[in-house]
């Protein structure tokens, strides 16, 4: 089995750090506009590029800049600026969809990855893009059997990218899927003038719909009103088959997700990939991973089109089916390095001994722990309430920019 690279999403520094702490081999991120999360309020800026590169290089983690929207004439200059700044900051590669971006990145001497939006479904298209790119994401609609045929052909015909190495195939491993063909969608453009292809998807497909025959007024009977909202992709239970398809990169979706989502999903897939490599991948482990994955944001899981299902499986609700949620408790105040104790100011809700808490922050990432003992206002106590100053023994450093949450059970709507 060839080594599989685990690629993590990073929407901000919290998620980036969570990805680095939990074993990602590479991360992908966007900078302001021209990426598929352009609308998101959390996005990196050009000034963040060097910090992203610095943190990732320290851990030997590759960095990919997403520049994968449709591109207009007025974008061409900013495309070049973004690529130049990325190159100067030592970002590893650019993920591109538009040919103008591919050309600009090549001219700047930057490695190019072909985005899933290009929708590659056959070996001849792989050969075409091999003139420009070393890594390609295949179309989301392919089955693993089809993926395997493509990777076998690459090997057989020695299809090489600009680096002179065989072209590497990347596929989506986990996260949200939408009804669009490999992410290209006009739904939100038609309904709200908000183009998904410019990173401004309004997620219309996640809502409830009914189908009515306009001639007769007859309403079709539907089992589920969420007729355009697929469940989330999950491949951890058949990761051995995914690896067998000859892929090189496994991409985790979720640049809009919280840092604890990135932490848990990356941790599970890291363990799964490692267990495949050392031959210990087992059904028992899969059960544990699935339970962990269910604790964070999901719309229910299915295997996408990889195993050849003809029909999609649709979500049964608008929001998350996660079995846990976080509740804000307070903020970081001070860390005492010698005693390894962190002080927090409780601003909402209460904290008890035995609680599972989560600390998130731009440098801290997302770290979870069980409260075994604590001091409340300098006295040993089992509960801290709003206004209290609480100190906890911590296996990691905290900062003033950190937030403290309590992890509580979340009733799943069905």
């Amino acid at each position: 089995m060839q080594k599989i690279e685990l690629m993590a999403p990073a929407g901000n520094f919290e998620s980036l750090q969570a990805a680095l702490d939990n074993g990602a081999d590479s991360i992908y991120f966007g900078v302001e506009q021209l990426n598929m999360r352009a609308r998101a309020s959390i996005n990196f800026t050009l000034e963040d590029l060097s910090e992203i590169a610095k943190r990732c290089q320290a851990k030997n983690v590759r960095t990919y800049l997403t520049l994968n929207t449709i591109i207009y004439d007025h974008d061409l200059s900013i495309v070049k600026t973004l690529i130049k700044k990325a190159k100067d900051a030592n970002i590893t590669a650019v993920i591109a969809m538009d040919q103008a971006v591919i050309m600009a990145a090549r001219e700047a001497g930057m490695e190019v990855h072909i985005s899933t939006q290009i929708n590659i479904t056959n070996i001849e298209t792989v050969k075409f893009y091999a003139m420009f790119a070393d890594t390609m994401v295949l179309s989301r609609e392919l089955s693993l059997r089809q993926v395997k045929k493509i990777t076998e052909q690459i090997e057989k015909e020695q299809v090489k990218g600009p680096s002179g190495k065989l072209v590497e195939i990347e596929i989506f491993g986990h996260g949200a899927l939408c009804m669009a063909v490999s992410g290209k969608c006009y739904l939100s453009l038609h309904s709200q003038n908000s183009s998904a292809n410019r990173g401004a998807c309004k997620q219309n497909c996640r809502k409830k719909y009914t189908v009515i025959d306009q001639e007769t007024g007859f309403e079709m009977e539907l089992d589920n009103e969420y007729i355009m909202s697929p469940k989330d992709l999950c491949t951890i239970d058949f990761l051995d088959e995914v690896a067998d398809a000859g892929i090189k990169v496994l991409k985790i979706e979720g640049r809009g997700r919280a840092p604890e989502y990135v932490a848990k999903v990356i941790k599970c897939y890291r363990e799964a990939i490692n267990s495949l490599e050392n031959g210990t991948y087992s059904k028992d482990e899969v059960i544990t991973w699935m339970q962990t994955l269910e604790t964070v944001y999901n719309r229910g899981f299915w295997s996408g089109y990889y195993l050849g299902q003809k029909l999609g499986e649709w979500s049964k609700g608008s929001g998350s089916h996660a079995t846990q949620k976080k509740v804000y408790i307070g903020k970081g105040v001070h860390f005492f390095p010698k005693a390894k104790v962190g002080e927090f100011k409780i601003e909402a809700y209460n904290i008890n001994v035995g609680d599972t808490v989560l600390v998130t922050g731009p440098t801290t990432g997302a770290k979870e722990l069980v409260v075994e003992a604590m001091m409340v206002n300098d006295e040993k106590n089992n509960q801290g309430v709003k206004g209290d100053s609480v100190t906890l023994k911590l296996p990691f450093r905290i900062r003033q920019s950190d937030k403290l949450y309590k992890i509580v059970e979340h009733k799943v709507e069905t």
Binding site: R39, L76, S77, I78, S194, S195, R198, A200
Partner: protein, 76 residues
């Protein structure tokens, strides 16, 4: 008077405002974002005050079309 404001930082460069009100908006080739012509900036908000009431409809259409809702148009 027609008062138009643009919160430029949040622009995703979709170009709709230029299509609907080409006399008031232009895309910047420098950063790919919309420019409200002849406007004055204060804390990231670009404002144009105009006595030409005829520009209201086009600008109002641009504001309605903006997918990130960063344009506001008022008539006083």
């Amino acid at each position: 008077m027609v008062i138009i404001t643009l919160q430029r930082k949040k622009c995703i460069g979709c170009n709709y405002c230029v299509e609907l009100a080409p006399n008031q908006f232009q895309m910047s080739k420098k950063d790919g974002k919309s420019v409200l012509l002849h406007s004055k900036e204060k804390k990231g908000f670009f404002t144009l005050k105009s006595n030409d009431a005829l520009i209201f409809d086009d600008c109002d259409n641009a504001a309605k079309a903006c997918p990130v809702k960063i344009i506001s148009v008022k008539q006083t």
